[in-house]
Amino acid sequence: MSFKTDTQTINDLRIFGDNTGKDIFGIFNKTRTGGGAKLLKDMFSYPLATASEIEYRVNSIRFFMKKKITFPFSSVIFDTIEFYLSNTDERSRLTVQENNLKRKLDQMVGADVEYQQLQQGVSDTLHFLIGLDKFILNLGDEGMGSALKEVLKKVSTLLNKDPFVFIKNADGAGKLNFDKTVQYDELFRFRSRNDILKLLRYAYEIDVFTAVADVAGSENFTFGEVNQQAENSIDIEGMFHPLVPNAVSNDLKIDEDNNMIFLTGANMAGKSTFMKTFCIVMYLAHMGFPIPVSRMRFSIQHGMFTTINLADNLNMGFSHFYAEVKRLKKVAEAVNNNERLIVVFDELFRGTNVKDAYEATIAVVEAFATKRKCTFIISTHIIEAGEVLKERSNNIRYLYLPTIMNSDMPEYTYMIKEGITEDRHGMMIIQNEQILDILKA
């Protein structure tokens, strides 16, 4: 089973941004190899939904973090190796018979580019194998999770397999002669190509783990703890948005008696950021990655659907409302087909007039709240809806982000508080601007 999500969610949370590095992927994208970056991207694209997979990641990264292990290879060799291995053309295969006078002459005048490339590939692959072998031997398994131990054992087994035994005694120093090059080329590129590819993948995983471990240390992230109890519960302390400088931390507790958050607050008070923070934290937790929280315990969720920046390029009130309804329908179907979804709507029904929005918000929030295994955060301007919902449902939590008026200027704490906001700054701003006085004068 996988963790369900969609493009809207990925975009809302800025998991992958526009290559400016200002996205969640960018925070962690400190891998040294191209293969590592690709693997990292896969991990971001497919969060996990089982405790064992999450724990394997958590334990592995934690182990690399604790041991302060750095990536044991020079990153350039991977490009050479990938290129070298991608050439499986039989005609490029070296044979001993080719070691004739012509080849030696070619080599002397530097005309044998093809051979030189192959030799470089063979040599880098050899260095990679020697390095990997040494790395595994020196790692030691103290404090290592059993799953990681299992994986490393597979690597050792591969390396100790018959054709690779020679690397134990090879030192990789000096230039390879023609006969050895031919022998290794045949082994690396043809006979044991798949094993080499597998070993490369392990190396990339090591790359990702060491990179993520570094990020966890420098960004002050910690790991989430999976809660295996039957009842859904999420308990987060000190979560902050990793892309917001000097972000304020908040706590949030969700359980089946408090599974719907009705979030209010003025426009700039930080509602969207609060919701995004929660979602990013949950997303990273389901990747087994370090998280911007001080402590966290969570039940495994089955997916996440957010609606924060719904495209409204149609530029028409009704069409935007219709886009919202379509989105709502999709999410409603997902809620109906899955347990334990995280559902977030920012400014639900902002595409329509306040009266429609008021009625619709009450109806939809009340209906969603009956799904106690799912987690909802719904933000709205329509604070009046909250008063009605208080009487109809008992599992809604009302939170708001306060605005403090400092003389005429609003200031924001970004600290979540219990209740529905009382802030009605609309009229106040109108009065501050003295529009009515201007007209009376």
Binding site: D346, V354, D356, E359, V364, K371, G426, E433, L439
Partner: protein, 442 residues
């Protein structure tokens, strides 16, 4: 002094926009000449605020509309002539003549093309200008008692001047002899250089007159009657949206007694379209253009501000609401300085809670109503309407929704009063969203 408006208004009404296929500009942009297109754009950017100028221009449009005229050339022909006429030459007859001899010599010796190009250009120009002369004669004949008469006379006389006669007569024996070519080239490009430039400008204008009046005639638009600002009146009969063929039309009168039109109706009932139709009509009327109505009389307005379809830009957050407040403030200042504006607010203060939106709308509308200017206010907050009921500066109309089965249909025809028709919940119910959530339906 010019007509005051802003980018948002132009965008709301989709007035300008050279490259937008459905803008009001492109509706009228049937000009043939490049210069005509430029002139038309200038007219759109500079509506008039002078009664006489407006009425005079609309009379000119109307005059051209009744002539059923077409320009006697296509855009390619005109471009060739423009190119020929605007190729630089010397003002002095002798220097210019020497240049022509040089061209001819170079053509004979090294096959230089300039001579041939000039000769062809001149011949085409003579033919084309002769057609323009015929057109001018027709315009002059019919322009008696119209504001265009003087202009038509001027160009008619110009083209019938003795200097041009030999050129018209030479048309029968083209190609021109070299001697004649030198002579006519001098007449068109040197002697009457300034006049020809002016005439080209006038042809651009005629291009616009024909294009605009033809669109107006073909679509059954009328020319509005402008009256002085002091009358404070906007009277529209059968107003529709010019971009929508066969649109349902309505009558609207906003005057100095009742200057606030309080409009209610559901989302799809046609509020935006009606508000836009009125805004576009008043804008076009200030340009002297034909408007999509059966009858229109309006006092001069100093400007227009609309906020229709303001999409709530969440990324801007607080600043969006604040920007709206600041815009209202700006409009308030202009109204307070006794400007006569048309102000259209669709769903004022949308990005806030119900109470603030309601209080804000009531307070602002009440304050505006005590001043001059014309207002159209739409809202879904029926309570706001109830609170404003006793204000006799307001009049209340709505666009109805008729529900057949559970599908809403619309008449697009104004009715007296206030409605609280909405279909937000109906759409949600039609999509079965609540049932899907509760799992009763899957």
């Amino acid at each position: 002094m010019e007509f005051i408006t802003d980018r948002q208004t132009l965008d709301d009404l989709n007035i300008t926009g050279r490259y937008k296929s459905n803008s009001i500009y492109s509706l009228f942009n049937k000009t043939i000449t490049v210069g005509g297109g430029r002139q038309l754009e200038q007219l759109f950017l500079n509506p008039l605020i002078d009664v006489e100028a407006i009425n005079e221009r609309s009379k000119v449009f109307s005059f051209f509309g009744n002539l059923y005229l077409n320009l006697p050339f296509d855009s390619k022909e005109f471009e060739n002539t423009e190119n020929y006429l605007l190729t630089p030459t010397n003002k002095s007859r002798w220097v210019a003549g020497f240049e022509r001899v040089k061209n001819k010599f170079l053509h004979t010796v090294v096959n230089d093309p300039t001579h041939v190009v000039l000769q062809e250009g001149l011949e085409q120009t003579i033919v084309l200008f002769h057609r323009i002369k015929t057109m001018m004669e027709k315009i002059t004949e019919n322009s008696e008692n119209t504001p265009y008469h003087d202009t038509a006379m001027r160009w008619n006389n110009f083209l019938n001047a003795a200097k041009f006669q030999p050129a018209w007569e030479a048309m029968v024996d083209f190609p021109l002899s070299f001697q004649k070519m030198m002579r006519f080239d001098y007449v068109f490009r040197s002697l009457f250089y300034e006049e020809i430039r002016e005439l080209l400008e006038e042809i651009y204008k005629i291009d616009v007159y024909i294009a605009v009046s033809t669109v107006g005639r073909e679509r059954g638009f009328v020319y509005a009657n402008a009256i002085e600002k002091k009358y404070r009146q906007l009277e529209l009969k059968g107003v529709g949206h010019p971009g929508i063929a066969g649109a349902v039309t309505n009558d609207v009168t906003i005057d100095s007694e009742k200057n606030v039109f309080f409009l209610t109706g559901a989302n799809m009932a046609g509020k935006s379209t009606l508000m836009k139709s009125i805004g576009v009509a008043l804008y076009l009327a200030h340009m002297g253009f034909p408007v999509s109505a059966e009858h229109m009389k309006f006092s001069i307005h100093d400007g227009m501000y609309t906020s229709i379809n303001v999409s709530d830009n969440l990324a801007k957050g607080y600043s969006h609401f604040y920007a709206e407040v600041l815009r209202v403030k700006d409009i308030a200042k202009q109204v307070a300085s006794n400007k006569q504006l048309l102000v259209i607010f669709d769903e004022l203060f949308k990005g806030t809670n119900v109470k603030d939106a309601s209080d804000g709308t009531v307070a602002v509308v009440d304050a505006f109503s005590k001043r001059n200017s014309s207002y159209i206010i739409s809202t879904h907050i029926v309570e706001a309407g109830e609170l404003l009921k006793d204000n006799d500066r307001l009049f209340f109309k709505y666009l109805p929704t008729i529900v057949v089965g559970n599908r809403p249909t619309y008449t697009y025809t104004l009715q007296e009063g206030i409605t609280d028709d909405r279909q937000g919940m109906m759409i949600i119910e039609n999509e079965n969203i609540l049932d899907i959530i509760k799992g009763d339906n899957v």
